[in-house]
């Protein structure tokens, strides 16, 4: 259990190379850019994006990918630590890729920022989780599975709360970010 807790805790300081997405507070002061990337959905697209990020010395902290309304195009949401490079280098390096149609840097913008957590906890005592907005998906002999979605800070708090209930397993979707006004 303590191990699981440690794994779930976000990176302690800006600039650390922790894999876990940062809390909202941490993000605001760190070198992490939030990018929404519209791509042509090719066999190598994701590899090329990941490769461009890696070889420029940047680091992916969060990632989600899904189809768009246009057939053949996907939207990738990225949280990237740009290290010692200038902040807008991440966007520029992604824009160079032929498969990338458009990159929007949403860092610091007014956005809807959501993430989904699915977790299985040992206890059947779920009042505090449900109070936060969690929904029960299934219950069986070794625990209860819940889902929860929220913004970055809500997810952060929810995961802290989960730890107190004895986590059996937990998965997170990565960030989904949309501008509030289009």
């Amino acid at each position: 259990m303590p191990e699981a807790t440690a794994r779930l805790r976000p990176a302690p300081s800006p600039g650390s190379t922790g894999h876990f997405p940062a809390s909202g507070e941490e993000l605001a002061t760190s070198r992490v850019r939030v990018l929404s990337v519209l791509v042509e959905d090719g066999q190598n697209t994701l590899t090329k994006i990941a490769g461009a990020v890696r070889r420029r010395g940047f680091h992916i902290r969060g990632l989600s990918i899904g189809p768009t309304r246009e057939p053949g195009r996907s939207r990738i949401t990225l949280e990237v630590d740009h290290g010692h490079a200038e902040a807008d280098q991440v966007r520029k390096q992604l824009e160079r890729l032929v498969d990338v149609v458009e990159v929007e840097d949403l860092t610091g913008d007014e956005v809807h920022n959501r993430e989904l957590v699915v977790a299985k906890v040992k206890t059947l005592e779920l009042a505090r989780l449900i109070q936060r907005g969690a929904k029960v998906i299934s219950t069986d002999t070794d625990g209860t599975t819940v889902e929860f979605s929220g913004d970055r800070d809500e997810i952060f708090d929810f995961v802290e709360e989960l730890a107190r209930h004895g986590i059996v397993d937990v998965v997170r979707s990565g960030p989904l970010v949309m501008r509030r006004t289009v």
Binding site: N44, E86, Q89, K92, Q93, R96, L97, V98
Partner: protein, 556 residues
């Protein structure tokens, strides 16, 4: 269908090597007499030949290789072209599409291995993708900031029957060409340059790639502003022009470095501003109040130096847009230009030639005296490269070819062969050290087979000279693994390949040997035994600012 598509794109030469996974292409090669195939002796040679061809004549170089080791042997050559923005189309065979991912014989993930050294790449698993892909590949390789594009084609696709397919329309919505110039920024840039007290222009490979040399010269003259070039920008501005600062960077001329370090406005055009140009970044051009950066690749803006005025555009269009705003120059440049002349006097290019040994500069000066600006020089990497850059006064683009960004040893011989195919009317000199030369010496067969007039000047110091110089000066004087005493007899080696060669050890024999090379039709090699202690100067010590350059010792 692949070969038809290449004909349609106007391809004349293919540099390639057959193997299991591209045999279906080779089976039909003889049906396309317009496509001349040059059989290389190693795939790296093919990539460098295509590279030299493209740099010499401006058309994209085309490469064929088979799967696995064949394709992977291209990687260094692709990287060389990628770093220097050279258009190459590499067509590699891949195992059957049904076998991909099963570790089939000679299967390798070529797309994965080459992604970071290509501008773009395609894996073709279906015949109907092919016409579009080939057309797109040529478009992407040659437009915007050029670069190599790789097309990996499964063997079953090469064999598939297809109806005659014509080139399809391009479908590359993610491919952005920066054709739109911000005229406001162009005006600001022009005004900053015109109003400067001590302006300097630095010009890179982008000047040559966009054919902007005339605009650059006009702008420099109108704004009375001196121009230095990067190693790859050599030829973009005539070295003998009164406003020329010659080459910049950590092995640039003393008067250029002085000008850069004292400039108040610095305009950098068509260049990446890499570490070889800036030396210690925090001490680069410390007196500049306004940095202007012009480059077609927006990601270069602020990558190394944050410009105050940026112009993301083709160099030719950007300079043309700036010109009308220079107006009648108000500022007085007399003092600045005479200061630069004083630095030129004070810090001339010089070399020590009083020890009785053959100096590399002796050879290059004699070569230049003969060729003037009517020859192409293809240099390898190392001391030979910098000597060849500094001791010829290149007056136009395309005459000096070398591997700048990647610094690939072994580049010169195959690139010189490619350059000769691209510009058969010009003499081609290959200048190399013996270390780099043996890395791709097998391509001598190609020069002999096609009786190419490529003259090879080996500046042989029996060591890895540049590494030796660095060890002497920056690594405590410990000479480690730089001794190349055990090398083939290069005269016998050339003869074994079927070409004549001479060895020169004395100053007075230089002319005779060059005469013999010029008289001989076909390839010729001269093994010049140069002073093993000869060094490159000026040089900025590693980790120091540009202003701290060392100069050659004076002659006793």
């Amino acid at each position: 269908m692949i070969l038809e598509a290449l004909e349609r794109e106007g391809v004349e030469y293919i540099f390639g090597y057959p193997g299991g996974a591209n045999l279906p292409i080779y089976q039909h090669l003889h049906e396309h007499p317009k496509l001349k195939h040059i059989l290389v002796r190693h795939e790296q040679g093919a990539a460098h030949m295509a590279d030299g061809y493209a740099r010499a004549c401006g058309r994209p170089g085309v490469v064929f290789a088979t799967s696995g080791p064949g394709a992977l042997n291209l990687v260094t050559g692709l990287c060389t072209a990628y770093m220097d923005s050279v258009p190459i189309i590499a067509i590699t065979g891949q195992v059957n599409s049904t076998q991909v991912g099963r570790d089939a014989f000679q299967e390798s993930d070529v797309i994965g291995a080459t992604s970071s050294v290509t501008k773009h790449s395609y894996l073709v698993t279906k015949i109907d993708q092919l016409p579009r892909v080939i057309h797109e590949a040529f478009h992407i390789a040659t437009t915007g900031r050029p670069g190599p594009v790789l097309i990996d084609i499964c063997k079953d696709v090469q064999m598939a029957d297809a109806e005659r397919v014509t080139a399809e329309r391009l479908h590359i919505p993610g491919y952005k060409l920066n054709g739109h110039i911000d005229l406001n920024h162009a005006k600001q840039a022009a005004e900053a340059l015109a109003g400067a007290e001590r302006p300097v222009i630095l010009a890179g490979h982008g000047i040559i790639l966009s054919h902007a040399e005339a605009q650059l010269q006009e702008l420099a003259e109108t704004a009375a502003t001196p121009v230095g070039t990067t190693l790859l920008g050599i030829g973009g501005f005539p070295v003998k022009h009164p406003l020329s600062l010659h080459m910049t960077g950590f092995m640039g001329t003393g008067w250029c470095l002085k000008a850069v370090q004292n400039a108040d406005v610095l305009m950098m055009v068509g260049m990446r501003v890499d570490d070889r140009v800036t030396a210690k970044l925090s001490e680069f051009a410390p007196n500049v109040k306004t940095f202007i950066h012009v480059d077609i690749d927006g990601s270069e803006m602020g990558k190394n130096v944050r410009p105050h005025i940026e112009l993301v555009a083709d160099a030719k269009q950007a300079l043309a847009a700036m010109l009308p705003h220079i107006g009648t120059l108000q500022a007085d440049r007399g003092r600045w230009l005479s200061q630069i002349d004083a630095w030129r006097e004070e810090h001339p290019l010089r070399y020590k030639h009083s020890n009785g040994q053959l100096q590399p500069q002796d050879v290059l000066i004699d070569m230049y005296r003969r060729a003037d600006s009517e020859a192409i020089v293809v240099a390898d990497v190392g001391q030979n490269q910098i000597w060849a850059a500094l001791w010829w006064n290149y007056d136009r683009p395309g005459l000096f070819i070398n591997s700048g960004g990647a610094g690939t040893m072994g580049f010169a011989l195959p690139a010189a062969i490619g350059a000769k195919f691209g510009r058969p009317e010009l003499p081609v000199w290959c200048v190399a050290g013996e270390g780099g030369f043996v890395m791709t010496a097998q391509e001598l067969s190609v020069a002999v087979e096609h009786q190419l007039d490529v003259k090879i000047v080996l500046l042989n110091n029996l060591s890895l000279g540049m590494v030796r110089q660095f060890q002497d000066d920056f690594y405590g004087g410990v000479r480690s693994q730089v001794d190349l005493t055990h090398m083939p007899d290069f005269v016998k080696l050339s003869e074994a390949y079927g070409m004549p060669a001479l060895r020169v050890e004395k100053l007075e024999d230089i002319g005779l040997a060059l005469d013999a090379a010029e008289r001989t039709k076909g390839p010729f090699l001269i093994d010049f035994r140069i002073d093993p202690e000869a060094n490159v100067y000026p040089i900025v010590p590693l980790g120091k600012g540009l202003g701290e350059f060392w100069e050659a010792p004076e002659n006793a």
